[in-house]
Symmetry: C2
């Protein structure tokens, strides 16, 4: 944010991303984080006030990484907003290849665990999820203007639904210990979007993947 992030700080945050996503927030100890970053307690508490401070910073770190990832994704350069929207879903499917702790969402994990006991963490997660959804909502709004000028649902509402499907598919992937079910869920999500926007158009028979 303000000053350029110190390498040690970044190391701790990177470790937190992996550890919290695989063990949860309470399940991750500060010693775990220190070990992962090759530091000792003194170093840790130089960079973070307390554990909650780290969690909030980790949420920000995660959101920043995601922002870059999606901003630079190839689908972003498609000219049609509807194609970008479908491209977003396809891109998320492609992300479901790595190991579970890698593709899972830190924000969802954090908020599910601490929405009551750690209000500040909850607030941070809400903010970052909202920001990401708002990014997606831009394309939805454009597609709406063009294809469905009198849709009865708002762009924001649909973009939140998309986030819900993604978050829920992560839960399913964790429960089933593999991404297959999650991939099928995103398949249904894509079908929903196609049905909503009447894509592909009946007359212009396009070859779809």
């Amino acid at each position: 944010m303000s000053h350029t992030s110190h390498p040690s700080r970044t190391k701790i945050l990177d470790g937190a991303l992996h550890l919290i996503r695989s063990q949860g927030y309470s399940g991750t100890t500060i010693d775990d984080l220190c070990a992962a970053a090759g530091l000792t307690k003194g170093g840790f508490f130089h960079h973070f006030r307390d554990k909650e401070d780290l969690a909030i910073a980790a949420a920000g770190h995660f959101a920043q990484m995601a922002e870059r990832l999606f901003a630079e994704a190839p689908y972003r350069s498609l000219p049609d907003p509807l194609m970008r929207l479908l491209g977003y879903v396809d891109f998320r499917v492609a992300l479901l290849r790595g190991s579970l702790p890698q593709f899972t969402c830190l924000l969802g994990t954090l908020v599910q665990e601490g929405y009551q006991t750690h209000p500040a963490i909850r607030e941070a997660c809400e903010r970052h999820i909202g920001a990401h959804a708002a990014e997606v909502a831009k394309d939805i709004a454009l597609a709406n203007d063009y294809y469905l000028p009198d849709a009865e649902w708002s762009a924001e509402s649909l973009s939140l639904h998309i986030q819900a499907v993604i978050q829920g598919s992560f839960v399913l992937a964790k429960a089933r210990n593999g991404p297959e079910a999650a991939i099928e869920c995103l398949g249904h999500l894509r079908r929903y979007l196609e049905l909503l926007f009447h894509y592909p158009k009946p007359e212009e028979e396009t070859h779809v993947i």
Copy 2:
């Protein structure tokens, strides 16, 4: 399961339902559970081998409650399987009225936090979520047979998608500290189902078993 559940045991399980859903699994201590049930440590460990044993029992307890709740819900007596399916979604919307720790899913919370560190808990959650999804899938299969005999997706796949939307909407509700967004998500889910099954039918008035 085997012997009739002792009242104290049930008290602990009921407390666990509420506590784990609002504080998470690691965030809930055995002392918390004892206090909620009006017991002491000795009593707790008389009924449960260890904390993980309790979590698995709580998952079963939750699933059993849910099974009863949905089995006795009014929409179950509708004659048309598609109406029952839409009724299920509407019923879930109606459930989103209570406070967050009340309507949230214990299985999702547990699995999100401990899918890696507690394989036995993960497995229990997978089983119970699967069982619930299978129940919903029955109506989907019936509706498919009647309305869409050559659908390209399986009943199981759609029922898992429905579960994903529900789980994801819980995450969203926690992040936003209120059920409004979750309700809208289920609205989109309902619209998807309507589009899939071409409901309501434009021309003919339907009345079938």
